[in-house]
């Protein structure tokens, strides 16, 4: 695997006088394009921070807390106006949306990591060659499937079944004063994200398993390991950086998913109550990313705009951290396996 940072070791050519001019122009053009992209990306980042800042400065640390009013009321007030004063209010306590993002992403990772790891071992090491040859492209296609299709599957196929089988009438009535329980809830959000990210993780993990040098595996076999021991003791250790990289990449996708989660989580800014037992997972939430989609129509109000951009700031920080983490991990992977094969 070639590193992107490897410099080309060719001498600068002595161009003919007629070509020299074109070369200089082209060099300038290419530098201009790179500079332009850098400026665009910096400008976008700066703009998002600048526009979201009023929301943070108006609320202080309470931005991250849970407020007296539900999230949806607060977001509504920020463009319709506070019923008491009539002025659009800047009050935002975003904890429900943060929690929604954390719950769905965390749940999906807990569910898909072990599954993806075992699935990747199955495809790369255990499955018959023919089955693996079929599963391989299918997993790639599943990883490339638009999230809206998974959202559709969730809301049309899974949601009615969850509603019918997991929510007893009695419980639903007991809680109806607090929140309406439907098939769209935390659990469904977790399932949608799992459908989205598990194939991605399987594809990355399986690729890494296949890239483990054969001589390492053969060494383990020669020392008397059976295939499972070899996988566990040699391959899984060797691909640890790829596991980190794949997981952070998947996490980035999950955190930023807006549409599919807006379909599947019920899209109500509710804080699930741990005291409700397993009903905790059957209560609706609204994530930060889907809040942006759900409220984008009330954009003329500067207060709501600041609030939505504040969500954007948090998403930007989270995904940037994850991207850098994934990059560091895959560099480590390259170092570790670079000499192989």
């Amino acid at each position: 695997m070639a590193s992107f940072t490897r410099p080309l070791q060719t001498p600068t050519p002595q161009a003919s006088p007629s070509g020299a001019r074109a070369d200089t122009v082209f060099r300038g053009l290419v530098i201009a394009i790179a500079g332009f992209m850098l400026i665009v990306i910096l400008a976008i980042t700066a703009f998002v921070f600048y526009t979201g800042w009023p929301s943070f400065s108006a609320n202080g640390l309470a931005w991250f807390g849970s407020g007296d009013q539900p999230l949806d009321v607060q977001l509504g007030n920020s463009f319709l106006g506070d019923p008491e004063t009539g002025e659009p209010s800047t009050v935002l306590n975003a904890w429900p949306a943060i929690l929604g993002t954390l719950l769905t992403t965390g749940g999906a990772l807990l569910l898909s990591f072990p599954f993806a790891l075992l699935g990747a071992i199955f495809i790369a090491e255990l499955a018959p060659k023919r089955l693996a040859a079929i599963l391989d492209p299918i997993v790639t296609i599943l990883a490339a499937t638009p999230s809206v299709i998974y959202g559709l599957f969730a809301i049309l196929v899974l949601a009615p079944r969850i509603e019918r089988n997991l929510i007893p009438q009695q419980q639903a009535e007991d809680l109806s004063a607090v929140v309406t329980l439907t098939g769209a809830n935390v659990l469904l959000g977790i399932l949608v994200l799992t459908l989205m990210i598990a194939p991605l993780m399987i594809a990355i993990f399986a690729d890494a398993l296949r890239a483990v040098p054969n001589k390492w595996k053969e060494g383990a076999i020669a020392l008397g390991c059976d295939e499972w021991r070899m996988t566990r003791r040699v391959s899984l250790r060797a691909i640890r950086p790829a596991l980190v990289a794949g997981t952070t990449l998947a996490m980035g996708r999950a955190v930023g998913e807006a549409i599919a989660l807006s379909m599947a989580t019920g899209s109500i800014g509710f804080i699930p109550n741990p005291l409700d037992g397993y009903f905790f997972f059957l209560e609706p939430v609204r994530t930060m990313a889907s809040s942006i989609v759900d409220y984008s129509e009330g954009f003329e109000s500067p207060e709501l705009k600041a609030n939505l951009f504040a969500f954007g700031v948090i998403l930007l920080i989270m995904t940037a951290t994850l991207t850098i983490g994934a990059k560091l991990a895959s560099r480590a992977a390259e170092r570790r396996l670079g000499g192989g094969q």
């Binding site: 992107f4 050519p13 070509g19 074109a22 290419v30 850098l38 599943l142 599957f153 984008s296």
Partner: protein
């Protein structure tokens, strides 16, 4: 078969995971094909949504959504390909000044990870400003714009199509052997000629892979279209929209793509007509399938060439 009990458990779990994967894949695919085929017909593919506000998205076909997907792909990639190729050439062939190379490299990494909804939000804020109203349509005389048009959506789509183009092209350009460059220089050719005649042609399969990956990302994105193309409006384009003197107005108007059509027709959207959503999902999946077949072909060609 492993001897230790815990090992046997591990192997069994891996087989179970494989089994679940096979079953899940079969169920989802069978569901999509079954439901999709019961909706799809020639009319469904070649007509627009039924006229009248009540029937919007409930009856009729998906032609405008299909055309919409095509338009954002073509326009988005028309911006992403030259910029992406330029960045890739800079990052591989030049890398000077160094600070610019490092900065651009990190920036491309960053936008690879940024959720498309953040780009959509940014686009909404920028394109709704009056001085950019030529990209969509002005609102009243308050100096604002609708910020919802094919132009606005495509420009943000270019940002999500760009990173795969850059990364695949970069890898492919690095794969072109240095001897070939040196041979070109030895023949007295300059840098531009070498890049144009040797480097880019040699890297073509990789560049194509990046382009196809970018197309896949654009075709599957919903958030940008929903916010910057106005997905709630499923109107048919006006007659003769493709005529040269109408196309400008058409591209500055709202529209839909397959993804927003699905979202709109799902129970979560206002249309709420699952049959239409299934049909559109099936068509979108066929598009994604073709994109992936193209990718597999390209990767085979790459291996064959070396």
């Amino acid at each position: 078969m492993p001897t230790r009990l815990s090992d046997r458990g591990g192997v069994a779990a891996a087989y179970a995971a494989g089994g679940v994967l096979v079953i899940a894949v079969t169920v989802i695919m069978a569901w999509l094909v079954w439901q999709g085929l019961s909706t799809i017909s020639w009319d469904f593919l070649t007509t627009g949504p039924a006229p009248g506000s009540l029937e919007q998205g409930v009856a009729g076909g998906i032609l405008p959504a299909l055309v919409g997907t095509l338009i954002v792909i073509v326009f988005g990639m028309a911006v992403a390909i030259p910029l992406g190729l330029g960045v890739a050439i800079f990052l591989t062939e030049y890398r000077q000044p160094n600070w610019l190379a490092k900065g651009t490299d990190t920036a491309i990494d960053l936008i690879f990870g940024v959720p498309s909804v953040v780009f959509a939000l940014f686009g909404l804020a920028i394109f709704s400003q009056g001085w950019l109203s030529w990209l969509s349509n002005p609102v009243g005389d308050a100096g604002l714009a609708t910020a919802q048009s094919f132009f606005c959506a495509s420009l943000m789509m270019a940002l999500i199509g760009l990173p795969p183009v850059v990364r695949s092209s970069q890898a492919a350009i690095l794969g072109v052997p240095n001897q070939q460059r040196e041979a070109s220089y030895a023949l007295g050719k300059g840098r531009l000629t070498t890049i144009r005649r040797i480097v880019v042609p040699g890297a073509r399969p990789g560049i194509a892979t990046g382009i196809v990956l970018g197309i896949g990302r654009i075709a599957g994105d919903t958030a940008i279209v929903w916010i910057l193309l106005g997905g709630a409006v499923l109107q048919s384009p006006p007659d003769g929209w493709f005529l040269p003197w109408n196309i400008g107005d058409f591209l500055r108007s709202e529209g839909s793509t397959l993804t927003t059509y699905i979202f709109f027709s799902s129970p979560a959207g206002e249309g709420n007509s699952p049959g239409q959503a299934y049909g559109a999902a099936f068509v979108l999946m066929v598009v994604i399938l073709f994109i992936n077949i193209a990718l597999i072909r390209l990767s085979r060609r790459k291996i064959g060439k070396r």
